[in-house]
């Protein structure tokens, strides 16, 4: 381990950010990675715990204490090897993961957790800079063919794992670019898209074939896929958004977040978009207090919105959780994202009751305060209020994957409408149809990128075992 008393000697220092006023002027990433020296002292804060709770808190089980120590020793090369051994894409998670590992860090019991995410970020950036991230093509080919539906983090992780053990992998993406939610769900200022391109290049060198504009179930026949390939992995997203069926919902200017965010990414990528929904000069109300909502806030500010409000139905969470009752699990607490720092009014326990429009365009929003008792919501009498709203963005989460594709494959669904498959045991990640596997959001519902990577990796092992009888891939 780094320094025995490091956690007492050094405070937590996060990676530096470009100041809000500066960064809203463009769509570039604004989180800078740690300097070598900073990374070293931050690594020294790690206590190399007898039980690394972080390791368990991290869905891909990153071996955090080991690479913290390696960074402390400035052995970056080995650090990336250890990091890559559990995580195919640390440049994604190092940027956009909410870091459940840090919640689980034992220092988080009574101190500031180790800045795990920023160390991860620094390691992978250093690795790319030094050209240490090289293709790892298989020594032997198996001759087995695998189709992966969806090129998000789950599909990409599964594809990379399977290609490296010698299978022929084809990734089918319905959009025009690879990356799924990473590409079009996450704004550039959180993660620039060149990171995806770089990985795609590496994976292509490892033998993965990416095909875009392949909308399975629409322009690609599922049965044909099952017929042509030795196995198929469903690794699409959970893209069916939750709607808000209140009067005025049909008005122009009331949109789903996912009608708003992707277009901006396309523009940043150089595409020309007609009729882009913009927030420029508008009073924007974002409904939904989650990450997607945040992204809408950040993008609206970059558009130059007149004002940005964000409403959340649930009550405001406590500023600090009761650690002794929550740690090492993910706490429910007040979180302020970088987008909030850029300017936004937030309000909680607010239910939107209707939209009022003019000329078919939304102008105002009518909402009321609510109270929560024993898990039930009640409107507070006489609390109704209205406010100006030129653009309303619905970011209330996603219900499930689009049902049509699952239906077209004819596989069983769970109660929440996801593809039904277990994650443990002999038949993990298998659907009710032979040869067909499912992983990521399509199986577990809306979730984090890091969970998608985990499922992609674990599913790859199951597929490899299914095809070869045994597998050397880690779970």
């Amino acid at each position: 381990m780094g320094k025995v008393t490091g956690f007492m000697d050094f405070p937590r220092v996060a990676a530096e950010n470009v100041p809000p006023a500066e960064r809203v002027k463009n769509y570039k990433e604004f989180v800078l990675h740690l300097s070598d020296e900073e990374a070293k002292t931050q690594g020294a804060r790690c206590m190399d715990c007898g039980i690394p709770f972080c390791n368990n808190g991290c869905p891909v089980n990153n071996i955090i204490p080991d690479w913290n120590d390696l960074v402390f020793q400035q052995n970056w090369k080995q650090a990336i090897e250890v990091l890559h051994s559990t995580n195919n894409f640390p440049e994604f998670t190092g940027r956009i993961c909410p870091a459940p590992c840090e919640a689980a860090c034992t220092l988080n019991i009574n101190d500031d957790p180790v800045g795990i995410k920023s160390i991860e970020h620094a390691i992978i950036d250093k690795a790319w800079e030094n050209n240490w991230v090289l293709p790892q093509p298989p020594k032997n080919k198996t001759g087995k063919k695998i189709a992966i539906v969806g090129s998000g983090p789950a599909g990409m992780a599964a594809a990379q794992q399977l290609a490296r053990v010698g299978h022929d992998v084809v990734v089918l993406e319905k959009n025009d670019r690879i990356g799924g939610l990473l590409r079009y769900g996450i704004p550039d200022f959180k993660m620039e898209k060149s990171h995806i391109d770089r990985r795609v290049t590496q994976m292509e060198a490892e033998g993965v074939v990416f095909k875009t504009n392949q909308n399975v179930g629409e322009n690609v026949d599922p049965e044909q896929l099952i017929h042509d390939y030795d196995s198929v992995i469903l690794a699409g997203g959970a893209e069916w958004p939750r709607d808000l069926p209140v009067p005025g919902r049909e008005l122009d200017g009331v949109h789903f977040a996912m009608d708003f965010l992707p277009n901006q990414n396309k523009i940043v990528a150089g595409d020309v978009i007609k009729d882009q929904i913009t927030a420029t000069g508008k009073n924007v109300v974002v409904i939904g207090g989650g990450d997607t909502g945040s992204d809408c806030v950040g993008t609206s500010n970059r558009h130059g919105a007149a004002s940005v409000y964000q409403f959340e139905l649930m009550p405001q969470p406590p500023e600090k959780e009761i650690k002794s009752l929550v740690w090492p699990y993910w706490p429910l607490k007040m979180r302020t994202s970088s987008s909030h720092e850029e300017g936004c009014e937030r309000d909680w326990s607010v239910a939107t009751k209707s939209f009022i429009g003019e000329n078919g365009k939304v102008k105002e929003l009518v909402a009321a305060r609510v109270e929560w008792k024993d898990g039930k919501m009640q409107e507070v009498p006489n609390s109704e209020f209205t406010m100006k709203a030129d653009l309303v963005l619905l970011a209330m989460g996603f219900i499930s994957p689009q049902q049509t594709i699952l239906d077209k494959f004819g596989i069983d669904k769970d109660a929440r409408g996801n593809a039904k498959a277990e994650t443990e045991g002999e038949n993990s990640y298998t659907t009710s149809r032979s040869k067909v596997f499912a992983a990521g959001d399509m199986r577990r519902g809306q979730s984090l990128v890091v969970w998608a990577i985990r499922e992609g990796r674990q599913c790859a092992r199951s597929v490899d075992e299914f095809l070869m009888g045994s597998s050397s891939l880690p779970r």
Partner: protein, 1540 residues
């Protein structure tokens, strides 16, 4: 030997585990004048040693006693006449003292064999005599198995020339008879046994109490019975099974102690069979085999070997020096001549190692010798008319003082010899000089010895067969091996440390393949034999090893001895191994080595195990053939391992080869060296050595080290040094001092290997639960090999994670993991039973992730009852205790939380070894907070206390460091626990690193802040079972209302030890599992010593029930107790009570950081750092919740088992079975039937605690003293009185001190309030824990443990007025005097034994000379020695000052300089300003002590010094601990700063 009443091996009970220890003594007329008086005196000694023995469930049933005398010719002449036997003159006939079967027919058969053998050996059967016995008063159980006792009288045959040859012949006859009768396999209550058969001596012994011997054998009372010597012995056995033949003396010896290496010694004797030739015995030698009878005691085996050596022509003292050599290799004070003697014989015979005081005689000479450590007491005196008396203690035989000319003690490794024929006493120096100069040993050695270091080759580099990483993986290296094991060794030259217990899966339960080494557990010494302190008492340790052929043991006439190859230690460098390979050239063919490849390829049609067995057979054949061909060094090597060739586990190859060669009797014709990639940690080397390797080269470890350091040779050297240190520790754990006797001693047991496999390859090793065999082992080897060369991407660039030492996601399973810790903490903090149940399910359900044996147990289906009928949780929680975690290892906040919680529920918390703040003894009467009571400055994290709370730990621990053990501390106990061993590191001491010794901790422990504290491995007052009985007695006296508990650790044989402990009057016994926690311990101990409690507890229960002792004691179990289910399993296996340590800590917030030893615990538990302690967040309520959850879960299980009362569960192992449905390739082979076994003892024999021990305090002298001192105790009035004392008055003054401490604490009474003048020889522990205000002034002498734990009292001992000897040249007190004294004064007019003032922390003492190890581990106080000191003075001394009067200027040679400096004592006016000991000048302190000494003892040496003070002061040396000096200076600097 057949022993019908001793229970057969059953369940986990194995009679071969029996131990004994005892009182021994002799009296002899050195002029050889025979008298009846000598015999009477011998019997008197026996009677007065009675307290060193024990009785079983029947107070009349002793453990055996006996006497050896010269043949009383007059008696036999008289008796022969009556029997019409024509008896020739003295020396012309021999007496065979026989135990014969009760059944007439078999007896006749035995007698006919005897007659036949006598005739065949051409001696004359003169007749038979029925030995008269008086058996009316002996115990029924002893009478049931009483043999018919007869004497056969044998006349010297014509073929036998002289008495020496006749003795030899009688020995041959006896061996033949024994072997022939053994073969008959007689079934009779009484054993056949030959007590003695000699023309010089006869042994009268039996299953008798010591005072019964004379009554039982009327022969001994007959005035015509005359002898010039009487050797007596009183046995203390761990078991209660009567066995007549196990009584001592044997034919030549009586032994007090234990031979720890006996298994190896026996093997090595057998290994020599082919090579042994004797000029004197000639063909008779063949008739002696098997020389050592299977299944007899260690002492009997030793006796057999001694007989062989003597029959082979060695003189008795010569043979004793070979068997029990003194520590010679590192002894700078020993003459070269004597060293050469020892070195020469070292190649012939490995030491019989262990604590031993052996008295020996052949009828012409009598003597005694002590082991190199001096671990058993032996004192002697001589009178002016030539009588010599030696005994374990003084006072056993009274002589008029004016006749006594010398009182002395046997010193470590020394010998006392009386030649009755020559009529004189020969002292150690003389006898050894005589023997050492008898032959030119030095030049013989110079001719024949090759030192491996001289043959060494230049640097060697290995060409690996594959990539290093792959090879490392093939031998099972993990990342932890590099980071936890090798790196610390390479950088610090130290074995790595860790903390907390082992909660990982047992190897046999693990889903991951394990290396074979991991299936073996190190055995360790507890109670019946002491561990050694390998660091502070290093001088006794030796790693010297002989590689290659050994000389003929009986080659006494050898003039050009065969060559011998010697290495200074057994870990070979690459260069050493290369030297061995080329040895034929370098030694001109005297040595020839043969490298045997132990790697193999799996054939196409073979299974893995077939391939491995084939390889093993080939290895063994080749080894045997190569010995036959005259090659004399075998090197088993696995360097050829590659992706096709896997290696037979080196341990397996080693043991198989060793055993095959032993069996063939040719083992000593060759050396056995292991060249393996598998060995990396200490445990691996220890195993290879234990199974016969004379040296080991860890080639792959060296190649690995090459990648860890730029300075390879330096790193290699450090690694070798670290392993060597670790080796010393492992050996000393078992009480073994030399590598030579450790080699082949097999001091291991297996957990999870099946009996068939063990019998085939590791014969003689204990294994209790069956398990895997060669098939699964081959499978594991193959899995590891396959993974090494396979495609697993996680292993392409890196080693396997391991996860043995700490939880790792990809590593071994642990019971404490993120989920279980989180669930337990949340449950107890929220008081939510549901969450607790989720936690319990994680632990209890081991159907998939199996980690513990109990996890595999199932409860049998029985009738259920409603939970309402079950005993309440409130009652059940009273059975719970928290573990012994000292204040020091954990913070005040964490420590007090446990105490408060346990007191709230009526359970018990434990101080641990670190004392306790007396403020905590005061009950809390109002709602308040902890800081209010202990002080704001003491507490960093405050929490609330409620009215009725108490912070007092009900259990007070007494461990070897005796930190803070005072009369007051003991008086505040409800239970006093003697820690004999600790689960995490049995056989080792404790250590509290310096950074954890805060001023507060130092104050409670009477030590110096910032200075690390070490508890020695042994208790210096417990070197055997009767010593433990003594300490139990001491502590019972120190607080008669407290129960006394003894903590043991599970290992094979623990049940037998526990039976002994029960007989030693312990009220309570703890059986700890191997997995218990620790604040700091070597990793190899955490992992590889001790066994799961399931095995040890079951063995203890079974053995105690068999011995009918179970009802007398409370049995507690601990070791990773986590749930109610664990408790129920423990109860079913026999426990009354349950200890928890780690789990309550987790409840307090522990997250298993395993950083306790670093003082960086981030949750404020295992740290003394004030900043970190602020983070402590535990609360008593949480701990209370935990225990009630446990109790609730227990109640649920009890309801499901239909049990209303907890007592009904205890011992019901019939309700357990192996859980169905666990279908696992390794687990399938396990068999728990021995764990579940219940001895068939009838319903009247209790299975749980029902009665109390009888401690005999009503007979104590203190009752009288207390009566007389009552006015002082109650009203503080001065009292003065006289009282006589004798050696059976033990622990005098301690109950009195309790009366004072109970009322006044350590403040006691004003000095001299109670002044007692005593006269006589005091028994052991005179003045133990003597409280302030008491002065004991003894005219006479003291035995061992005078002033133990002295606590403010004053002790003065001077010889009686009529004593003739020169006082300052005679011994006045025994061993281990003032051990753990904390305050008070003592003055001894004469010399003290070994280990004077060990762990003194504040008392002052004046003495006129001390033995070895004086002031060892001292942390405070003042000692003045006005005479010589033994070796190793001041080892580990970190505080206090000693002044040594050293006019000859030789003291520095005796002093261990590692922690002290030697200074001049300056006159007061010139002593430099600055910090001073006790704030006084040295001159003031020293002079005052000597003035007092003179005043109290009339010492002439004191007055001489005082009269010449100005010169004398210059002859004093001041022994100043370096750390103490630093601390004083810091204190001084701080004071100056304050003033300024």
């Amino acid at each position: 030997m057949m022993r019908p009443i001793t229970p057969k091996k059953q369940g986990l009970y194995n009679p071969s585990n029996e131990h004994d220890s005892c009182g021994v003594g002799f009296v002899a007329n050195s002029r050889g004048i025979k008298s009846h008086k000598i015999i009477s005196q011998g019997l008197e000694i026996l009677t007065n040693l009675t307290h060193r023995g024990a009785t079983g469930y029947d107070p009349k049933l002793g453990d055996g006693a006996g006497i050896l005398i010269q043949i009383p010719d007059a008696l036999f002449q008289k008796e022969a006449k009556l029997l019409s036997i024509a008896l020739p003159g003295e020396g012309e006939y021999g007496i065979g003292m026989l135990f014969l079967p009760q059944a007439e027919k078999t007896r006749a058969l035995c007698e006919s064999i005897i007659s036949k053998v006598i005739a065949e050996e051409e001696q004359i059967e003169l007749g038979w005599r029925n030995v008269p016995v008086n058996n009316q008063d002996i115990a029924g159980a002893a009478r049931n198995v009483e043999p018919v006792i007869k004497q056969v009288i044998i006349g010297r045959g014509d073929n036998t020339d002289g008495q020496v040859a006749f003795e030899r012949k009688l020995f041959v006859i006896r061996k033949r008879i024994e072997n022939l009768v053994q073969a008959l396999d007689i079934d009779d209550p009484a054993s056949f046994y030959v007590s003695s058969m000699s023309s010089r001596t006869v042994v009268y012994k039996g299953m008798l109490l010591a005072n019964e011997v004379g009554v039982f054998f009327p022969d001994l009372l007959d005035e015509s019975s005359q002898s010039a010597l009487a050797l007596v012995h009183q046995r203390f056995s761990t078991n209660t099974f009567p066995s007549w033949d196990l009584a001592h003396p044997y034919r030549m010896i009586a032994h007090n102690g234990e031979i720890n290496t006996v298994r190896g010694n026996e093997n090595w004797i057998n290994a020599r069979q082919e090579k042994m030739k004797s000029m004197l015995l000639g063909e008779d030698l063949e008739k002696l085999w098997p020389l050592i009878t299977e299944g007899q005691s260690d002492s009997a085996s030793f006796d057999n070997c001694l007989e062989l050596l003597v029959a082979g022509g060695y003189s008795l003292p010569h043979a004793m020096m070979m068997l029990i050599p003194e520590a010679w290799s590192g002894n700078g004070l020993m003459s070269q001549e004597r060293k050469s003697f020892y070195e020469y014989h070292a190649a012939m015979m490995e030491p019989w190692d262990g604590p031993a005081a052996v008295a020996f005689t052949d009828g012409q000479m009598i003597g005694a010798t002590l082991d190199r450590n001096g671990l058993r007491p032996a004192r002697y005196l001589m009178t002016d008319d030539g009588v010599v008396m030696m005994a374990s203690e003084m006072g056993v035989l009274k002589f008029p003082e004016e006749k006594i000319v010398k009182k002395w003690r046997l010193e470590p490794g020394k010998m006392l010899l009386i030649d009755l024929q020559a009529g004189r006493i020969i002292d150690d120096a003389e006898v050894k000089k005589l023997l050492a100069s008898a032959k030119p040993y030095e030049s013989w050695i110079n001719q024949s010895r090759f030192l491996l270091s001289d043959l060494r080759k230049p640097t060697v580099k290995i060409k690996l067969q594959s990539a290093l990483l792959d090879i490392q993986q093939a031998f099972g290296f993990t990342q932890e091996d590099i980071s936890f094991i090798l790196k610390p060794m390479v950088s610090d030259g130290q074995e790595p440390s860790g903390s907390m217990g082992n909660d990982a899966a047992l190897p046999v339960l693990s889903n991951r393949p394990k290396v074979l080494y991991n299936y073996f557990k190190q055995l360790f010494a507890q109670v019946t034999n002491p561990p050694i302190d390998p660091i502070r008492e290093e001088l006794v340790m030796s790693l010297v090893t002989f590689i290659g052929p050994r000389p003929n043991l009986l080659g006494i006439e050898e003039t050009s001895p065969p060559p011998r190859l010697e290495a200074s230690q057994p870990i070979l460098s690459l260069e050493d191994l290369e030297a061995l390979k080329n040895i034929e050239q370098t030694t001109k063919g005297l040595f020839k080595s043969n490298v045997i490849d132990i790697t193999f390829e799996v054939g196409r049609d073979e299974s893995y195990s077939q391939a491995m067995e084939r390889a093993l057979a080939n290895i063994c054949n080749e080894a045997k053939q190569s010995v036959i061909d005259g090659l004399n060094i075998i090197i088993l090597s696995d360097r050829l391992t590659d992706n096709n060739r896997q290696a037979v586990p080196a341990l397996l190859a080693c043991s198989a080869t060793h055993h095959l060669l032993v069996k063939a009797g040719i083992r000593t014709n060759t050396g056995l060296v292991i060249d393996t990639g598998s060995a990396r940690e200490v445990h691996h080397f220890a195993l290879l050595a234990g199974y016969g390797a004379e040296a080991v080269c860890p080639w792959l470890t060296y190649e690995t080290i090459r990648t860890l350091s730029d300075d390879f040779s330096g790193a290699q050297e450090k690694y070798i040094k670290a392993i060597g240190k670790g080796f010393n520790k492992v050996m000393s754990k078992m009480g073994i001092s030399t590598y030579q006797s450790y080699c082949g001693a097999q001091v291991f047991e297996a957990v999870g290997l099946n009996q068939a496999f063990i019998d085939k390859y590791f014969k003689g090793t204990s294994t209790n639960i069956e398990g895997i065999g060669i098939k699964e082992i081959a499978e594991e080897v193959n899995q590891i090999h396959k993974a090494a060369f396979g495609l697993d991407p996680t292993l392409i660039n890196a080693l396997d994670a391991g996860g043995e030492y700490a939880f790792r996601i990809r590593g071994e399973e642990h019971m404490w993991n993120p989920e279980s810790i989180a669930k337990l903490q949340h449950a107890t903090r929220k008081n939510q039973y549901d969450t607790y149940k989720e936690y319990a399910e994680l632990i209890n359900n081991q159907t998939k992730k199996h980690k513990t044996l109990r996890g595999l147990f199932g409860f049998k289906k029985t009738k259920t009852i409603s939970i309402d009928e079950v005993e309440s949780a409130k009652e059940i929680v009273k059975r719970f205790a928290t573990g012994a975690m000292s204040l020091g290892s954990i913070s005040t906040e964490a420590h007090a939380t446990l105490a408060v919680a346990m007191n709230r529920i009526g359970g018990k918390s434990n101080t641990g070894e670190g004392g306790e703040d007396k403020k905590r003894f005061i009950p809390i009467t109002k709602d308040s907070s902890i800081a209010e009571h202990l002080g704001e400055d003491i507490i960093e994290s405050n929490y609330a206390l409620l009215a009725g709370d108490s912070m007092r730990s009900r259990i007070k621990q007494v461990a070897s460091g005796r930190f803070g053990v005072t009369a007051e501390y003991l008086s505040a106990a409800d239970q006093i626990q003697i820690k004999m061993a600790q689960g995490a590191k049995p056989g080792e001491g404790g250590q509290l690193p310096g950074h954890k010794v805060s001023p507060y901790i130092a104050k409670l422990r009477f030590s110096v802040p910032g200075v690390g504290l070490i508890s020695p491995p042994p208790h210096h007052d417990i070197y055997s079972i009767e010593d433990l009985a003594q300490l139990i007695h001491d502590l019972k006296n120190a607080n008669p209302s407290a129960s006394i508990s003894v903590k043991l650790v599970s290992e094979t044989g623990v049940g037998t030890v526990a039976a002994g402990v029960a007989k030693a009057k312990s009220d309570h016994i703890v059986i700890a599992g191997h997995d218990g926690g620790t604040g700091a311990s070597p990793l190899s101990s955490i992992k590889h010593a001790g066994t799961p409690w399931e095995i040890g507890l079951a063995e203890t229960q079974q053995t105690l029930v068999l011995n009918q002792l179970r009802g007398r004691v409370i049995l507690q179990v601990d070791g990773q107790m986590k749930t109610g289910r664990d408790v129920v399993v423990g109860a079913l296996l026999g426990a009354d009570e349950f200890g928890f340590a780690t789990a309550p800590l987790v409840v307090e917030g522990c997250i298993m950081m395993r950083k306790c030893h670093l003082n960086t615990c981030p949750v404020g538990i295992a740290t003394q750092d004030p900043e970190l302690r602020k983070r402590f967040n535990g609360q008593p309520e949480h701990v209370v919740n935990f225990f009630f959850f446990i109790a609730e879960e227990i109640r649920e299980i009890m309801a499901s088992l239909g049990m209303k009362k907890f007592n009904d569960l205890i011992g019901r192992s019939d309700l357990l079975d192996m859980q169905q449905g666990i279908d696992h390739w390794k687990i399938q082979g396990l068999d728990f039937s021995r764990i579940f076994y219940q001895p068939d003892m009838g319903a009247d024999v209790s299975r749980y605690n029902v009665e109390k021990q009888y401690h005999g305090l009503d007979k104590a002298l203190d009752n009288e003293i207390i009566k007389k001192a009552m006015p002082s105790i109650e009203k503080k009035e001065s009292t003065t009185f006289d009282i006589p004392i004798t050696n059976t008055n033990r622990t005098v003054g301690t109950m009195l001190s309790h009366e004072i401490a109970k009322r006044y604490g350590n403040d006691g009474l004003p000095d001299n309030t109670i002044s007692v003048k005593l006269e006589g020889t005091a028994g052991q522990s005179f003045g133990a824990f003597l409280a302030k205000g008491i002065t004991f002034n003894l005219h006479g002498e003291g035995n061992d443990y005078v002033g133990k734990g002295l606590c403010g009292g004053h002790i003065i001992i001077r010889p009686p007025q009529h004593f003739k000897g020169i006082e300052e040249k005679n011994i006045i007190v025994g061993n281990t005097v003032m051990y753990g004294a904390t305050s008070g004064e003592s003055y001894f007019r004469g010399i003290a034994g070994e280990r004077f003032c060990v762990r003194n922390s504040g008392a002052s003492a004046v003495v006129e000379g001390v033995g070895n190890h004086g002031c060892e581990y001292m942390t405070g106080g003042t000692v003045a020695v006005l005479g010589e000191t033994g070796q190793n003075f001041a080892a580990g001394m970190s505080g206090g000052v000693a002044y040594i009067y050293d006019p000859e200027g030789t003291f520095s040679q005796s002093c261990n300089p590692s922690m002290v400096t030697l200074e001049k004592v300056a006159k007061e006016n010139v002593q430099p300003k600055g910090a001073k000991h006790l704030n006084l000048s040295d001159e003031t302190i020293l002079k005052q002590l000597i003035v007092n000494h003179h005043k109290y003892t009339d010492s002439s040496i004191a007055i001489d010094i005082l009269n010449n003070w100005d010169t004398a002061i210059g002859n004093f040396v001041k022994v100043m601990p370096i750390e103490y000096k630093r601390a004083l200076n810091e204190l001084h600097a701080a004071t100056i700063k304050e003033v300024a």
